[in-house]
Amino acid sequence: MYRRTAKDFALDGLIYVVLVMMGLITLLPFVNVFSKSISEEWAILAGQVGIFPVGFQLDTMKFVVTNSQFLNSLWISVLITVIGTLASLLITALTAYPLSKRELPGMGIVIVLFIFTMMFNGGIIPNYLLIRELGLINNLGSLIYPALISVFNLLVIKSYFESLPTSLEESAKLEGANNFTILFRIILPLSGPVLATIGLFYAVQFWNDYFHPMLYINSSSLKPLQLYLQDIVMNADTSSALDKSADDLMNVPAEGVRSATVIASTIPILLVYPFLQKYFIKGVLIGSVKG
């Protein structure tokens, strides 16, 4: 058996130190924001809040999470994420299944067409015009319908389907099952890992989407959390007196309120991560080995 030498230990130690430092670099800004969210405003302004809160209080946090707009935005985000993810999974799986049947005539061309949309698309203006003409401006559908199929996820599911033994389907057919029964009763139950992974991909994508709601949503009652967050956080950087009147300056949300909003809107998705992280890692491997 290989015995670890002093050199190995030194090297390991070095690696640990470097990794811990890298970890701290990403963690500390977050800790700082968290501390600000539970500190007194005067201490934040005087630059006294670093890693630990100064003048501990929870009023700011309470103020933020009881804000009706915050709650409404949170609800909209949850709604989009849950409905969007479920619908995307269904539609993507329904599309991937026939595409995994190479023996069907013309499938090669259809796949090429899908892949084509991965590389080229109309761009922002045509997309905006399309959404507008579909009457989806100010409609949550505008955030869900266009994102139903991501070709990348489609290909991952397709290659997973292809890896399932064909004899399973043949035996089911012999028993008299039709294509839908095969898909829903045999293929999908066997595809748990890939569906979980892709579901997570979709969920994160829907949750983090900021750009599309910015374009398509005007009504404040339909704003998802990311848009709400952007409004609060950007406030500080634009607080020059140039295009702002004193009234706006007097009403700029305090730094503490901004920090608390950032924390409060990060926590929901943060809570989901530990439970789904293993699928994330699995997901990277799915489809990487063609068998």
Binding site: A46, I124, I125, R132, G135, M214, L215, S220, I232, A254
Partner: protein, 514 residues
Amino acid sequence: MQKAYKLMSVMAMSALLVTTMAACAGNNGKNNEGSGNGTNGGTEATAKPDAEKPGLKRLNVWQNDDYNAYPVAKLLEEKTGYKVQYDMLPQDKWAEKLNLIMSSGEAYDIVTSYSDMALYSDYAQKGALVDLTPLIEEFGPNIKAAIKPESMEALKVNGKLYAIPTTVTYEINSSILIRTDWLDKLGLSMPTTTDELTNVLKQFKEQDPGGNGDRNVPLTIKGDQSMIDNLVGAFGIANTWNDVDGKLVSRVMDPAYKDYVAYVGSLYEQGLIDREFVANKDATAKEKFASGVAGAIVVHWADIPAISDSLTKTKPEAKFAFIPALKGPNGEAGFAANAGFDRLTYVPKASNNPEEAIKWINASLETETFKNMAIGVEGTHYNVVDGAYEPIQPIFTDERNLANNYMAGTDEENYPQYWQARVRKNPVMFEAFSFLNNETAAEAKIKNVLGLAPYMQQYSKTNQQLGTMVGDYTVKLIAGAESIEGLADFQSKFMSSGGEAVSKEINDWYATTK
């Protein structure tokens, strides 16, 4: 990557604006049947078409509260009889979003945005706005009474009025805020001239009255604050464009510019201005003052409550006050005085009820309704003390703090008085505000003549860009990264980058005002 994406989206939106605006202009008037309605079938359903007073849709600037739930919305609904549904623009990049909404033909009846003349005149010229002149004539007696004719005049584009302004309510923004307890400690009096200021800052540096050691900063400013309010006035260049022998001249072309830069540059060289000012953000500068490290800072009076709270916690003995208009070497002194508009309110062509929109605005400007909207009810929201409106807290803040966002035009005669109730919410802030605005002599308020100037294409388009260019250059001069010898080169660069065109345009106009 992110930046490229942003840039792309901005470009895309403006391109979209151009194309669809052109379409709007093409079929002037009733284009509601086409693109307008397709986009918002939903709103059509909520607006009762045949009711006597239809529901109105209003788009407004961002605020950190739900427009529809704020008490002022309810008040206005009661007083005007109209149910208004409010939406708001984002805080960041509001202009791009507004472009998108205007070009998509969404049927807003009233749109209020920050006063961006370039944007406004663009909409007006492309036919995206309703001409308000006949509507005000017919339905707007209160509007005519409330808004001064010169305000209306300044907003006319090709002789037609497309917007109702909300005029700025006070003149002076900022000055140098100084620690008076430091002054007292050193036996110094409040500086009145630039030389005295130099001396005071020197004493701050040498004697370190705050006991800050190496961290001691006599005067801190932000990185983009190369034109220091109050000091620019002392050198006769209070505004971006100043009258020199009857002509408007940009600061950088002004003969006094050299003197100003030499003075501020020498302050920096002696270590009297924050050594790190180039890297200072707004928050960094405030942090230095609020933690007691800096003896003076340049701030807007509206920033004072936060700074004051923080400073009294960290340094309980601290006292501060604004420095009055300092006299320069040639005896000049003064502050740039605001003139012009804060918000503009207009009616897009896509509106389904332009007449009702004007009727609503008219109703909101009815004297008593407007007063109630601005400061509430006497005895409930405010008291009259010595002829001034004192807010009653916390109800004033809870129910009227955001009232200004609901205004579409103001009672220009009375509003500045009502408005001061908002400043009185915080006595420390009011004192500072009052010192700058009520106690500064009229001749030290140097009015920005361009504030009420009519729309000028070159000026609207390039002035901000030129301002940034001059600002950056001035920072380099002050910090010693550029030498004043190169001024002539920079001046010719300034002129060729649009300075010449702007100068000609505004002076052609300026000549007509005399």
